[in-house]
């Protein structure tokens, strides 16, 4: 579902964020992406999200090579990728429901589908009762779950998470990881960038480790 072929990303200032990264994630696979700050985790996610383009090599998502994709096609690729951020990027000028509905709104989904699917996503993260509230009224963990509901509401085949448990206590982190595991069980490819080592060892999943832009472990498919 996600494949990196000899991907190098160099920024203007002689700073190389990724060096010849090779890996591939299958459909329904859940993997962690780890490494020190500045090791290139965010760059890797940005390449999948088409926020950045690789300097060399190919990034393939869902069988589509992203390198040569014209700019106006970018939104249509992003609709197939759900993203969860550490600081969740919720909008505080609208309700939880409207926040979660945004991916459907940009797709032009009919109103009756929107209601049904938003409630399904909120139900999944256990926040169905709070759909009419403003995200500001929610706790950090709840806000993060709203972010997850928004990322999965249009049932994307790929889910990316950038430090999704960064500000949460271990109990909430475990809850959220369980959610991600459930998504992968129904066929979603999940890639989670984190440096929460405890969490990774606990779940015992494939782990891609970046060090100064090189993929030092997890490049081969995980068996176990």
């Amino acid at each position: 579902m996600i494949e990196f072929r000899q991907v190098t990303k160099r920024y203007d200032s002689d700073h190389t964020a990724l060096r010849q990264v090779n890996f591939s994630l299958e459909r329904g696979e859940l993997a962690f992406l780890t490494g020190h700050s500045g090791a290139g985790k965010s760059t890797l996610l940005k390449l999948i999200m088409l926020m950045e383009r690789p300097s060399a090599g190919e990034v393939v998502v869902g069988g589509q090579v992203l390198n040569s994709l014209p700019r106006r096609q970018v939104p249509y690729i992003r609709r197939h990728i759900g993203v969860v951020f550490q600081n969740h990027h919720l909008l505080f000028d609208r309700t939880v429901f409207d926040n979660v509905a945004m991916p459907l709104e940009v797709m032009g989904a009919p109103a009756r589908d929107t209601g049904r699917r938003v409630r399904a996503a909120l139900d999944k993260v256990g926040l169905l009762s709070k759909e009419k509230m403003n995200p500001l009224q929610l706790s950090g963990g709840e806000q993060q779950r709203v972010g997850i509901a928004r990322a999965v509401v249009n049932k994307p085949p790929v889910l990316l998470a950038d430090e999704p448990t960064g500000n949460l206590d271990p109990q909430l982190s475990a809850d959220i990881m369980r959610l991600f595991a459930e998504f992968s069980q129904v066929g979603v490819t999940v890639l989670i960038a984190t440096h929460d080592i405890a969490l990774i060892t606990e779940l015992g999943r494939r782990t891609l480790t970046l060090d100064q832009g090189r993929l030092v472990s997890g490049a081969e498919a995980w068996h176990g």
Binding site: S37, G38, M49, P75, I77, L91, P103, G187
Partner: protein, 334 residues
Amino acid sequence: MAESPNRRKAPFRGAKAARSPLGQQASSYFSHHRKVARDSARRLRQAPVASLMTWTVMGVALALPVALMLLLASLQGVSTGWESSARVTAYLAQDVTLDQAELLKQTLGNDSRVADVELIDRDTALDEFRASSGLEDALDYLNDNPLPHTLLVTPSDGSRTADGVQTLFAVVEGMDGVEQVQVDLGWLQRLNAMTELLGRAAWALAILLSAAVVLVIGNTVRLSIENRRDEILVAKLVGGTDAFVRRPFLYTGAWFGLGGGVVAWLLLQLSLWWLSGPVERLSGLYHSDFSLNSLTFDGILALIIAAMLLGWLGAWIAVKRHLDDIEPGEIAGG
């Protein structure tokens, strides 16, 4: 998660639900437009003072050139009135007899450019002169009547322009037996030149002020883009197209235009009401039926539509300049 987003539902669908995917797309597209239009209008209402100020700036900028154009239209009405009284006076040679003069009158009367020809024979002319000049006694000392026969030619409707009268002038001048032709074209041409100048000035003003309106709206929309930065970022992240992201701002521009157009119209009506009294008195003193034109219904509609287009254009420029700068690249941390 396994089901695809547009999975077929149960084969039993109500007639209402069984619309084609294309029809459904279109209907959700239009309902989204309605939603965005409503939402943009609501945002303007939420900042009434700022919105009102923008509307007023736009209104003043639009009212000025429109007022000038209305004045121009009123003046053209006056000049048309005056043109209808333009007549060509042909003084015939002394040796032309009354019969020959009658013949000339008939020839001219058959010309399509001529509405009416009046012949004033020299005796009548002398009588009139005697009566109006107060020189009765002096005139009695003359042996001969020094005045020629005169033809007063009134141009037909089609020829009541400066050019038409000029042509007629040449025709009459070229006729046998006509010694001198007079027509007071000078003031007509001056008036025409003046209205033309005023017309161009109005257009220049209109273009300059339209540009100002576009810039004002562009700047206002730029601020609103800054205020909604997070929303734009999220919309782009979840796969909003450029058109989707642009739409609310274009509607904002159009609503600014609508408000500005209405304010311009109100300002025009107000000035007209304020000026109409003095204008009536003035034209009364000149025995003229001159009055200031007000906007017709079509004119009001055109004004408001033009204002909305200008607002839309301003928003479009701002969006083009600033929306591309907001890319979700900076959103994820190091």
